[in-house]
């Protein structure tokens, strides 16, 4: 991945006492995002507010759209006009974005979407936390496609992972979704924004060669391909239909194989490069707790208590949600008695853990119907049960 240092104009360097939502906006600006279109919805609104407030001084454009469908549509347009772009929302808004999320995946349009999750289904619990949209992020759009999703556990990581989300999005030309939650979004903690020259960003890669060689697409299961900027004088055709490397519709079995394989494999085939995990005492553990986002912090509290009781328990925190770390779970499942999966939903990522463990160890779901974080005691009880 070719990187440059961040444009200092967008970087508010120094220590801050900031909530996760604001840190998402700061991460976007530091990464070079200069276009934001969104529709305010609790608990993500503060990100839009921060971006709108900072936009004039940074030279970015903020548009409050009429709804979430229009918001993501504007992002697709802005991306092909050469901008790095972002929107934020939560469950109800994300549902409305799903159709054009599929279009963005098909047209290989880079963008970052933060979903500050609140309790659902439907309008559910507007002001209360949840992690119920984990599967929707991957399976929302119809048709085979692959996206990347990241999950921060703190305001600091909201900043760090937004920069990383933009970098992955630019390189793989894919929508990257930040799956955070109301708790992380609304809580204030120390956030240190590094100086611009210490922030590495992947710049927009626009084609600039001869007209006859211009290709907005290349179906080779890899990232790093240039985009074509609308208005630069090249023939320009972008469509949701199955297309050839010039972007024109070719609706055949052969072309579908090329396009779909590329869309899937540029992510899944590079999973080892994309996936980031945070592990603690996994080797030699009898039980491993797999968690993410705010729940991983609650889990650490339970893990510390379990260790005091002499239980050998490790922690695996998913920083990357999608693509899922199936290889690592497979390895772990062959060595431990059980994997415990707490999450603020009725049991979503636990299905991926079960699939990857494939019966080699017990998998225990510690679900929660949303509105609050787990009581650490409940996770501790599950760890105790796991070693029996």
């Amino acid at each position: 991945m070719k990187t440059v240092t961040a444009d200092p104009k967008g970087v508010d360097s120094g220590p801050h006492f900031m909530d996760g939502d604001h840190a998402l906006a700061e991460g976007a600006l530091a990464a070079g995002c200069r276009f934001f279109a969104g529709y305010p919805i609790t608990p993500s609104t503060e990100t839009a507010e921060r971006f709108a407030e900072r936009a004039p001084e940074v030279g970015a454009l903020f548009i409050q759209m009429e709804d979430e469908l229009a918001s993501i549509a504007a992002l697709i347009g802005a991306a092909w006009a050469g901008q790095k772009c972002m929107t934020v929302t939560c469950g109800p808004g994300f549902s409305l974005m799903v159709e054009n999320l599929g279009l963005a995946a098909m047209t290989e349009t880079p963008m970052v979407i933060a979903n500050v999750q609140r309790g659902g289904p439907s309008t559910g619990l507007p002001t209360l936390t949840a992690q119920q949209d984990m599967m929707q992020a991957k399976w929302g759009p119809h048709g085979d496609n692959a996206i990347i999703a990241l999950s921060p556990d703190s305001p600091q990581e909201c900043f760090d992972l937004t920069v990383e989300a933009f970098n992955l999005s630019e390189y793989y030309r894919v929508p990257v979704i930040i799956l955070t939650d109301e708790t992380v979004g609304h809580m204030h903690e120390k956030v240190v924004i590094p100086p611009a020259d210490q922030i590495k960003v992947v710049p927009r890669n626009n084609y600039s060669g001869p007209k006859e060689d211009c290709r907005p697409y290349k179906f080779d299961s890899q990232g790093g391909h240039p985009m074509v900027r609308a208005g630069d004088g090249y023939n320009f055709h972008i469509t949701g239909l199955t297309h050839n490397e010039k972007g024109y519709p070719v609706m055949t079995v052969e072309q579908s194989k090329k396009v779909v394989t590329h869309l899937m494999e540029k992510i899944n085939g590079n999973a080892d490069d994309i996936i980031r995990l945070d592990e603690d005492q996994v080797d030699g553990a009898d039980v491993v707790v797999v968690s993410y986002g705010i729940t991983s912090r609650i889990a650490v509290k339970a893990i510390q208590d379990a260790r005091k009781e002499g239980i050998k328990v490790g922690s695996l925190r998913l920083i990357t949600i999608w693509p899922f770390c199936e290889k690592r779970i497979r390895e772990i499942s062959a060595k431990v008695k059980a994997i415990v999966v707490p999450e603020i939903n009725y049991g979503q990522m636990v299905l991926e853990v079960e699939r990857s463990a494939a019966g080699r160890c017990k998998v225990i779901s510690v679900n929660h119907c949303g509105g609050a974080v787990h009581d650490p005691q409940v996770i501790l009880d599950a760890i105790r049960k796991a070693i029996q």
Binding site: F17, H188, K190, I298, V373
Partner: protein, 188 residues
């Protein structure tokens, strides 16, 4: 590891959230502590009772919410009524002297009263009530240094009111020190 859980409460408009933001920023940025601040976000936060929570620790805060506050700052009757029973024996209860009518002597608690609104009015505007209360809070608890609190103010209060806010803070702080010496307690 020592962990402190603090609840700031009052009614909407008193600057309760701002109190928690200033204290959290002071601790996290200038007192070398870990601080996690959360606030009430539901409809209950708008208009009537309003609360913000701060968890302070020498190590990273894992559980972001308070489980049992050791310190309660209550600037309104409703806030006091709603939250005082959460305090454990020996907990510190700080109330607005003229806005809160106590429901008993609270012999089990360390009770501190501050006429924050009156002092703020003497400084020209009751909008400074929260800073008087924060100065008092800083003096009577062993949580945060006055120096860090003052450093935290720029950016969290309007620049043109920075001086008067510091004055309000000092007023509350001095009153707190006086109360401490009256009670025979040593200042932190």
């Amino acid at each position: 590891m020592s962990t402190q859980e603090i609840r700031f409460s009052g009614f909407g408009g008193q600057g309760i959230i701002r109190c928690a933001l200033i204290t959290g920023k002071a601790l996290a940025l200038y007192d070398d502590k870990f601080a996690t601040m959360t606030q009430s976000f539901g409809p209950e936060a708008r208009g009537s009772a309003c609360a913000a929570q701060l968890v302070v620790s020498d190590e990273r805060v894992l559980y972001p919410y308070i489980t049992q506050p050791g310190i309660l700052l209550a600037l309104s009757q409703e806030a006091y009524d709603k939250y005082y029973s959460e305090l454990p024996k020996g907990g510190t209860l700080i109330v607005e002297q003229e806005l809160v009518k106590l429901r008993g002597e609270h012999p089990d608690l360390r009770l501190m009263r501050v006429p924050a609104t009156r002092y703020a009015e003497e400084l020209g505007n009751r909008l400074f009530t929260n800073l008087v209360a924060l100065g008092f809070f800083t003096a009577v608890t062993n949580v945060v240094t006055a120096d860090a609190m003052k450093k935290a103010l720029p950016g969290l209060v309007p620049e043109r009111f920075l001086k008067i806010n510091i004055k309000a803070f000092d007023k509350g702080y001095e009153h707190g020190l006086q109360m401490m010496s009256q009670n025979g307690e040593a200042a932190s």
